[in-house]
Symmetry: C2
Subunit: 192 residues, 2 copies
DNA sequence: CCTACCGATCGGTAGG
DNA sequence: CCTACCGATCGGTAGG
C-alpha cells in the first residue's frame, strides 16, 4: 500500500521533470515510462491517464499559492510590509517547487475545459488578492502607480520568472531572492 | 510568384496564431492546413517542414530585438535614459508582434539542436546588452541593485509578460505601456 | 494544390 | 507490472 503510494509520487515527480523539460504535449507516456523504468502500459496501474498527471501538478501548486494567500489574509499590517510578506511567500513556493512551477506556469492550458476553468479561477483569485494589497498601499498613501493591473502583472511576472534562473545550489537563499526582489519591485532601480 | 510568397506569409501568420494558442507540439500540420483552408500535404509546397515555421517565427523576433539593440548601441546618453529607450523599443517589438512574441518566448525550446544553440546565443547577447546598460547606470551612480543578473531578468520578465495582457484595442498605446513600465521598473511602487 | 499513401508513434485497454 | 495489442493520428512523400 505504501509502496503503491510512493510509486505514484515517484511517477509524478519524474513526470514533472519531463513536462518541464520537453513540455506536456511533447512528452509521451513512453518517455515517462522509460524514465521511470517500466513499460508504458504499467504507468496506468498508478495513474488514471496523462492529463491526471498534469492536473495533479497544476493544482498542487495552485493550492500552495492559495494556502499562502489564506495565511496572509489573517494578518493586518501596512501594505508595504504586507506586500513584502506576500513576495516572500510567493518566492518560497516557487523555489521549493522549481520544476512544478514551470509546469504550473506554462502547461496549464493543456488541461481540458472543466479543470481549466477551475484553474483559471484560482489564478484570478490570487491575482485579485495581490491587487487588493497594492490598492491598499495606494489608499495608505504609500504606493504610487497608474494602472494596478499592469503593476500587479509586472510584479507577478518578475516573481514567476524565478523558476527560470534560480539555482538551489547557488549562493542565494530563497529569503535573499525574496529580499532582493522586494527591494527591486518596491524601490526600483533608481538610486535615491 | 508574388502569390506564392504571400501564401507562404499567410501560412506563417496562421501558424503563429496556432502555435501561440495550442503550443507548437500540440499543433498538427492538419490543424494548420484546416485553418489555412487546404490539405495537409499541400502545406509542403510552401514550406519545408513544421520546424521551418517555428524557426522562422523565432528568428524573425530575435532579429527584431537585435535590430533594436544595434540601433541603441549607436547612441550615447545617460543610463537611465538609455534604459528607458531600450524599454520603449522592447515594448514596441512585443506589442507589434503579440502572437509571435508568445511563440518566441515559449516555443523556442522545440527547435532542433543547431538552430536552438544559435537562438540561445542571440538571447544571451540581448540580455548582456541590457546588463551593460544597468551596469553603466551603477557606475554613473544613478542605479542601485545587489545582483545585476536578477535585476535584468526581473526587468525582462516584466517586459516579456506584456504579450499576455496587452490588448491592441484597449485604452493603452504601446508608448503608454512603455512609459508605465519604465516608471515602475525605475522607481518601483513606493511613493517618494 | 490534391489524392493516396507511408512508417512511426500516440494514449490507452485487455488480460493476465 | 508485463505482453500484446487497438484505433487514431502524427509528419511527411510520391506522383500528378
Amino acid at each position: 500500500m505504501s509502496e503503491v503510494v510512493s510509486r505514484k509520487v515517484q511517477i509524478e515527480g519524474i513526470a514533472t521533470e519531463l513536462f518541464r523539460k520537453k513540455g506536456y504535449a511533447a512528452t509521451s507516456m513512453r518517455d515517462l515510462a522509460q524514465a521511470v523504468g517500466m513499460e508504458a502500459a504499467s504507468i496506468y496501474s498508478h495513474i488514471k491517464n496523462k492529463e491526471a498527471l498534469l492536473s495533479s501538478i497544476c493544482f498542487r501548486l495552485a493550492d500552495a499559492f492559495m494556502d499562502a494567500k489564506k495565511e496572509m489574509e489573517l494578518q493586518t499590517m501596512p501594505a508595504p510590509l504586507l506586500l513584502q510578506k506576500a513576495i516572500e511567500a510567493h518566492v518560497r513556493v516557487i523555489t521549493n517547487n522549481l520544476d512544478a512551477s514551470a509546469v504550473f506556469l506554462h502547461e496549464w492550458r493543456h488541461l481540458s475545459p472543466e479543470p481549466l476553468a477551475e484553474f483559471i479561477a484560482l489564478r484570478k483569485a490570487y491575482e485579485n488578492y495581490l491587487i487588493r494589497i497594492i490598492q491598499q498601499g495606494k489608499e495608505e498613501g504609500k504606493f504610487q502607480f497608474e494602472d494596478e493591473k499592469i503593476a500587479v502583472l509586472s510584479l507577478l511576472s518578475g516573481l514567476n520568472w524565478i523558476y527560470d534562473w534560480y539555482k538551489p545550489e547557488g549562493k542565494l537563499s530563497p529569503e535573499q531572492v525574496a529580499q532582493n526582489l522586494s527591494n527591486l519591485l518596491l524601490n526600483g532601480l533608481t538610486k535615491k
